[in-house]
């Protein structure tokens, strides 16, 4: 499991989550995104295209990051959720808290 951070030409930080986002690695993701926020990044996309599963602490870290990014005047969008992950967001009502796009391209185009 690993995370990849890339910045597109317009400065949007795209974070890929490979494998899972769970209690064992969520702090790593949080730190990487906070470092990018500290470094001036304001627009963030987290791409779950390659993600197998997310546990409740993974969901919690997304909630926390979303708040911190908004506090800095930024915006966080999610994309690439498979059907099961989409259902998880709907059941927990977190789909009402996040802007969720189908694909990374859609998420980027929305900024």
């Amino acid at each position: 499991m690993s995370f990849s951070l890339t910045k597109d030409k317009r400065g949007v930080v795209v974070v890929g989550v490979d494998g899972q986002l769970i209690v064992g690695n969520r702090q790593d993701l949080k730190q990487q995104v906070l470092d990018a926020l500290e470094g001036g990044g304001r627009k963030f996309v987290i791409d779950f295209t390659k993600t197998g599963y997310i546990d409740s602490s993974g969901l919690g870290v997304l909630v926390s990051l979303s708040k911190k990014i908004r506090e800095q005047g930024g915006d966080l969008r999610l994309c690439g959720l498979n059907e099961d992950l989409q259902t998880l967001f709907e059941l927990t009502k977190l789909d009402t808290l996040f802007a969720i796009a189908k694909t990374p391209a859609e998420a980027l185009a929305a900024f």
Binding site: M1, Q20, I22, V23, G24, N25, G52, Y53, I54, D55, S56, S57, L59, G60, V61, V63, S64, K67, N82, D84, L85, L88, L91, T92, K93, L94, T96, L97
Partner: protein
């Protein structure tokens, strides 16, 4: 990472089929949650649960139960273990996750989808667990949970 995880696998005939039991002791450190989940999920035989339910429901539920046991049961004490027992029969997969803590009251957990709780970072574990499996049952003490996923 050198792992102290050792999976014990037992198989025996049961009514023309093979029943399987997997057991694993996990030290109370969150670092082991991911590796323990993979170690067990990889041993699930084909035909018990669909690949999709193994990939998502089983893995997420086990990660969730382990994290709860490590954090709230064993309070991250590395000297305490979480015991995982998985019973696989043709009808269902049953996951027992037991910690060495004093137990808790599963009915005392507030609904994390209430508007005033939606932006909280924690408190979704049990809710997520209940949505992933067919049944969630605690023992009387509250330190052992049995998660059932019916075959299919």
């Amino acid at each position: 990472m050198a792992t102290p995880l050792h999976l014990d696998v037992r198989r025996w005939p049961a009514g023309g089929e093979t029943a399987i039991e997997l057991s694993l002791n996990v030290p109370s450190d969150m670092e082991y949650v991911g590796p323990a989940v993979e170690m067990i999920a990889e041993q699930l035989p084909r035909g018990s649960l669909s690949p999709r339910r193994i990939r998502f429901n089983f893995r997420t539920a086990l990660a969730e139960a382990l994290a709860n046991a490590i954090a709230y049961g064993n309070h991250h004490d590395p000297a305490r273990l979480v015991r995982v027992l998985v019973e696989i029969s043709p009808a269902a997969v049953r996951l027992h996750v037991t910690d060495e803590g004093d137990g808790f009251d599963p009915f005392g957990v507030p609904d994390p989808t209430l508007p005033e709780r939606l932006e909280r970072e924690d408190g979704r574990g049990l809710f997520v667990l209940r949505s992933l499996v067919d049944s969630v049952a605690f023992n009387d003490k509250g330190n052992s949970v049995c998660l059932t996923l019916r075959a299919g």
